[in-house]
């Protein structure tokens, strides 16, 4: 028997086991909590003629049941399967770095979207408070520059923020690109298309 170091010894892949356990937990939660509490109809119901018919929960319960079985198979097969771990493998796992990236990405996007949503209403309220305008954001939804202000500032901040993060520096070409993209978006979605609204105007 050759001597194997810890890195060369075949072991079950913890990510495969973890995936199975998470899937099993989600399937059981769906079957035992989500479906019973969030679907008013039953799995099988009697209709007015007394004939048994599938209820609203029939298909979701069938899917969740199948998921329980498959997740169990996944857990068992992952425990049985043994492979030599590859510490350098980039895929097949979620690292702390990946999660950190995801959080940062969402943070930049959410900040951009928050600015996009609130800047227009806050600006109009501020201008109204100092007596420069008389109408609120709702009444000015179709009036430039109010209808563009949130989209331009929020969209610009979000997009330029992501580019700067990816490139490590804010270059003039990035600023120019974002300005062009936002201008083209306004041209398409606001000027050429009459029956749609730019974000966030449909929410007010």
């Amino acid at each position: 028997m050759p001597n194997l170091t810890d890195h060369q010894r075949p072991v079950p892949n913890p990510w495969n086991i973890g995936f199975g356990i998470v899937a099993l937990a989600a399937a059981l939660l769906t079957l035992l909590v989500w479906i019973p509490f969030d679907i008013k109809g039953g799995v099988i119901e009697a209709n007015v003629l007394g004939k048994l018919e599938p209820g609203d929960a029939f298909f979701p319960a069938l899917l969740a049941g199948a998921l329980v079985v498959l997740s169990l198979i996944q857990v068992i097969s992952a425990v049985i399967d043994r492979t030599v771990p590859d510490p350098d493998a980039a895929s097949g796992k979620l690292t702390t770095d990946n999660l950190l990236f995801l959080c940062l990405f969402y943070a930049i996007v959410l900040i951009g979207l928050t600015v996009m949503y609130w800047l227009g209403p806050l600006t109009t309220e501020a201008l109204k408070a100092v007596g420069l305008i008389e109408l609120g954001y709702r009444q000015l939804l179709d009036t430039p520059p109010y209808k563009y202000i949130g989209y331009i500032v929020g969209g610009f901040g979000m997009t330029l923020g992501l580019i700067t993060w990816a490139e490590g520096v804010t270059r003039p070409r990035a600023i120019l690109t974002v300005v062009i993209v936002i201008s083209v978006s306004i041209l398409i979605f606001d000027i050429l298309l009459n029956n749609v609204l730019l974000p966030p105007n449909a929410d007010f």
Partner: protein, 530 residues
């Protein structure tokens, strides 16, 4: 035969004339614009056909609306993108060794060495000829087989068989896409479950909404699919770009001059490889979920085995470029065979065609499309006709137009796009994110669509990171309502027999096949790891 011809002629005329009989060149123009955009997108690193189709669909729906008249221009544009992107993908692979898709990686094996020898333009001409040939062959097979298959399916398959066939398709996709069939099946079923959020069947109101009123109309389908496909890829691309920057990775480009002529001698040399690869790609494309990568791999491998000088493959031989491009392009037409005959999408491009059909007009995909019902003129009423069949033949006409544009103008346009590969991903992807968010907001009219896109983008990112194919998830999400309808109908029709799926011999065969495919492919995947 006269009836068939009558339907074909009406389908062709549907593309060129309005219902009032006026000449209408809009659908044809949309195919052309879509093709041009598709080639540009295919030639741009970080973008691909389904990506552009995903972005275009909400814009097209916002512009054209959802009436019957809007269907052909929208489908024409999407078909143009699909065809253009397939051929355009060769540009970055050949000129700059930057494949945008896994199958384009095989194009780099011989395409990039040709560029290094100064024969990049010749490699692009070979790629265009092979790609257009493969695509045309595949479309002809589609035109001939889809109606026949659909008629057979309609005669043979009832509710249990159709349910079992969807289960078989999902199992097949889980088995061939990604490394673990069981994981693929699990995410496919989760996709199905998520698709039920906010759906309503009875008077009991919407289901599985977590009490969130905004979900009462269901999850916006396009936003969810866009999230997994586009935003998930944007997450991956930006993360990779940031890591590459930190690692100091940069592409090097060395210009060179060489023989770039492409004539009959070259065509004679590559033609046998083009034919073999087109056949392989078409056969693979007809099976749901396998996709272009396997077709390109098999096409390249077969060409190498059949070649008189297999040892030269990988050093810049035209046959290598031809085999790969013909194989991956011939998948796209054949992939519409399961779409048109069954309503089951075989790849991402087909997903967006189905989304378009489901969102616009009252055209229905599936076996009933190809019912050649008698055409009757009724005075003071109109014409009794299977309108879906006319639209199907109009769709074929649009595809034929796409091929015509591709053959005549595609090659020239393709060769002029070397500049596109210089656009960095770091600039492109954040802009794609902003356009996607704007497009889904415009289509669905609210921030709910943006939240759905971002949440499903996170799902897409995590699945990619875990090395699980997103295809079963997306297909499961799309097919869920159809499978529910079929299973509920089959269960009720059987009088409440819980084993109704196993009572029909054909349905039983499909279920056994599904289990066999998953078992065999799981064992194979296990052996590969060891």
């Amino acid at each position: 035969m006269d009836l068939v011809l009558d339907y074909i002629v009406r389908g062709v005329l549907e593309v060129f004339y309005t219902a009032d009989g006026n000449l209408d060149l809009l659908p044809m123009m949309m195919v052309f614009i879509g093709l041009v955009l598709g080639i540009v997108v295919g030639a741009t690193p970080g973008l691909n056909g389904p990506f552009a189709m995903a972005l275009s669909l909400p814009v097209l729906i916002s512009y054209f609306g959802v009436s019957d008249e809007a269907l052909l221009p929208i489908l024409g544009f999407l078909i143009g993108i699909m065809k253009g992107a397939t051929v355009g993908g060769a540009v970055p692979a050949i000129l700059f060794n930057t494949p945008g898709t896994p199958d384009a990686f095989l194009t780099t094996l011989d395409g990039y060495p040709m560029t290094q020898r100064g024969q990049g333009i010749k490699a692009l001409k070979i790629a265009h000829f092979s790609s257009a040939s493969g695509d045309t062959f595949s479309d002809i097979v589609l035109f001939l087989t889809a109606p026949v298959l659909a008629v057979m399916i309609e005669r043979v398959l009832d509710l249990p068989e159709k349910s079992a066939l969807i289960i078989l398709s999902l199992s097949f996709m889980a088995a061939v896409a990604g490394n673990s069939p069981i994981k693929g099946l699990i995410v496919g079923l989760f996709g199905m479950l998520l698709a039920l959020i906010g759906t309503t069947l009875s008077g009991d109101g919407p289901r599985m909404t977590f009490g969130i009123v905004a979900l009462g109309n269901g999850l916006p389908l396009t936003s969810a699919v866009l999230g997994v496909l586009v935003i998930g890829e944007v997450f991956m691309g930006i993360e990779q770009s940031a890591r590459d920057r930190m690692a100091g990775i940069a592409a090097l480009i060395k210009p060179a001059e060489g023989d770039n002529s492409f004539g009959w001698k070259d065509i004679r040399e590559i033609f046998p490889r083009v034919c073999t690869s087109a056949l392989i790609g078409t056969m693979i494309g007809a099976l749901p979920g396998i996709g272009t990568t396997l077709a390109a791999t098999l096409g390249y491998d077969t060409a190498r085995r059949l070649s008189k000088h297999p040892e030269k493959f990988g050093t810049g031989v035209p046959e290598g470029v031809a085999a790969t491009e013909a194989a991956n392009s011939s998948v796209s037409g054949a992939n519409l065979i399961p779409v048109l005959s069954l309503g089951i999408p075989g790849n991402f491009a087909a997903v967006f065609l189905i989304l378009a059909v489901e969102s616009v007009g009252d055209f229905t995909l599936g076996p009933s499309v190809f019912r050649f019902t008698e055409i009757k003129e009724i005075p003071d009423y109109g014409t009794l006709i299977n309108k879906d069949l006319v639209v199907a033949f109009a769709l074929f006409t649009l595809m034929a137009l796409g091929n015509l544009f591709n053959w005549t103008l595609g090659g020239w346009f393709l060769r002029s796009l070397g500049i596109m590969v210089r656009i960095p991903k770091t600039l492109m992807l954040p802009c794609v994110l902003l356009i996607t968010l704007t497009a889904v907001y415009a289509q669905d009219g609210g921030f709910v669509a943006i939240w759905v896109v971002l949440i499903f983008g996170g799902i897409g990112y995590i699945l990619r990171r875990l090395d699980i194919s997103i295809l079963p998830f997306v297909i499961g999400f799309i097919l869920s309502p159809k499978l529910e309808e079929l299973i509920r109908g089959g269960y009720s029709a059987s009088g409440g027999d819980p084993l109704f799926l196993l009572k029909s011999p054909l349905a039983l065969l499909f279920i056994v096949l599904a289990i066999t495919i998953i078992t065999v492919s799981t064992r194979r995947a296990g052996k590969k790891k060891v």
